[in-house]
Symmetry: D3
Subunit: 169 residues, 6 copies
């Protein structure tokens, strides 16, 4: 029985993502975490590198006692020729059958290639979103409750809030 | 204490690579397996996709009872501006301190950026090399002894030898 | 006597484009239809692939009894170094002498290279525009009158309106 | 009933290609001529631009009285991530069902995506090949018999033999 | 004693830039003028080519009697993988030690790589800015006082104001 | 009266290049030194970065008492679509009229765009060539006589011979 693909950008990895992974793992035997825009970092909307996002995700899943045998993380770059994105994801990832995403473009492209694409029920979308978390970081509001502790630790260690503020126009 | 970086192309993952990983894990607390030319596949010298190489490697390390908490695999693309390769590897990977590689360019670039770069003692280089394994596949000679069983299983399942023969000029 | 170049994106091909082609063919012996942003598709402003746009255009011109010996269609990619666009268009296209376009960048670049660049009198620009047609598709307003029947047939067959709605943010 | 795809580089378009097109048109209702490496020109192995190759092909097929309603020519760029080539070809081309090619990589990639891929019986491969024709051009041997008259006319007009000699190392 | 790096886009080179260069040359023995987005031109926000910007800068510095032995100008392209920007700048430029810039991304990236990054006190930022100068050019307001005479001469010669107006949407 | 363009890779800058520059400056009022493959370094055939080549060239020309007002150096990247190379060189460089080069591709491309292209009489080509100098560096033969003293000093300072040996396969 084959694994699921879960596509996101994880800027940063937050509790909504954690909830989504638990939701998927109740339904599928394992999940490939496809980290989109993997080459992009140091931008106001994409502050963290792939390496930093990988480190957040694996520490958070370890803390949650989710076995490393039930997930795998891979970076997927943005592509200029959109229809090639499905093939490129297949080439860069271990095999998967169905796809979980709330991203419009990802949904359209995988559906047109015949995949079953499922939405993820969102946990309080107005709060558990990267956009909201980055907004709070910039305005010194409380954002720590919205992320796993492992995400917080990594952002502290790399000076992530300072980076984000430094990148603001 | 920080992890090591081990750079290779793994076309395919063979027993020499397995030996190198064991050698590194005796000296370092963990190893990041940097899979070079990660976007390249379906070429005579690079037949397997990143996804296929990730699948080979994780199955082989599982079979060898090496804990998933002591290694992490990431794909690294080729870059056109060579001096940027070190920074790109750092951006795409969890943190590492020293580097193991036998590749000349990788060695020069990381050394010029101040990294300690170590060579890996090779296990019978004339046999345990991707070049030799691909040569044997093309000429129907025995190659199975040179790879972990997990590599063999994956190549069987995807029809890897047929692909390689189909790509021959 | 040499042909004209007519540059557009054709997202989708509509009656304004058809009118422009007829206008050009009254003045020039033949027209090269340069389909810009040819690698771009599956975006809200660029929903259709080059292949789909080629299929729309040739069916519509066939329906209009315009001989295939009086036009030729080629895709032209976006380029990052703008001054190279003229040379790239020349390299990817059969020969042409003068240029018809209403696009500011295309006009500036070809003029700076010494070409005669002509504007196209627009047929009710508020209606016969890709922007307006895509807006109507998204809001379920009537758009069929604005395109040749061949464009409508192709969009029906590929589920183009559903694609466009699926791509909306 | 759907069209066939015929993949080649056509450097230059020669009588072997003409024979292949006639062979395909006896079996399929129409053929999409996919001109590979479409961005490449001014190299010893790829001397002609896409525009020049399009001009050769359409003039030669016109001379042979092959209706423009039974073929369509599109340029296809080289891609770095090989598995995406099939999707990119689909995006840049009108629809096709089966594929004719003698190129190893094209055959492997389309087969892995489930396409029927057919070889083309070659007409005296030692003569009717781009390599042989370019070799004769460089050494001032007779090459005119190997190409349709339209190819010869175009190469004369653009000074193609002089270009090829100028590019020789 | 090593030179400073001064990063800007210089669209166009104005008196604020000239003031910055004089400010740096009072503190450092020489300055490398890093012209960012060097491949970008013919856009409303980036109208001038690198060649045009190099010509403006060297004529203006000559007019100001600043010796060519105290500055050097190099173009630096935009990069997609931001963390590689520091390395790429180092590879494309003669050696430098500290960095002057007011650009947020440049400041963050060089700081993360351990460089001393200094801001430049701005001379009436509301006037001496490329944005303001381009705005005045478009609306036929007086902009000549804001630039060195050499910038004005070059823009006159190339028809720069006409280009900018032609590019307006 | 307009300047000349002199195209080379300068890996490294040697006495043959110096002789060529003196030859050009006897005939033209100034020369733009176009440093090709400017993004390429750390390869056996292209060991030095653009920054290193710029440093060699300016020091050598200073030593030779050639005024900085009679030359200008710019980097030019390799391009994939060859016909765009002329336009890109024009965009990245101050204006020039005629072109000096011994490179076949450069000669063909500039000639096809209507430029006067002149060859440079070579000074003992078997010795004064980058290929020969790099060969001698690798085999510890005497190469110092073939380069200006400034080139030697820079290669010493950066450890250039060690880099070249480290890159050897």
């Amino acid at each position: 029985m084959s694994w699921a693909l879960y596509v996101g950008r994880f800027q940063p990895f937050h509790k909504g993502h954690m909830y989504a992974l638990e939701y998927i793992l109740e339904r599928d035997p394992g999940v490939i975490i496809a980290i989109g825009s993997c080459m992009t970092s140091h931008e106001p909307k994409n502050p963290f590198t792939l390496g930093e996002r990988l480190a957040m995700i694996s520490a958070a899943l370890d803390d949650a006692k989710i076995s490393r045998h039930s997930w795998y993380a891979v970076g997927i770059p943005d592509v200029q020729i959109h229809p090639s994105w499905v093939q490129i994801t297949k080439a860069l990832s271990p095999p998967f059958s169905r796809v979980y995403t709330n991203d419009p473009l990802t949904r359209v492209l995988f559906k047109e290639e015949g995949y079953e694409v499922l939405a993820i029920p969102l946990l309080q979308k107005d709060q558990f979103s990267g956009t909201e978390i980055r907004r709070r970081m910039l305005s010194d509001e409380k954002w720590i409750d919205l992320v796993p502790e492992a995400t917080f630790r990594l952002i502290e260690r790399i000076g992530g809030v300072e980076r984000l503020k430094g990148l603001a126009p």
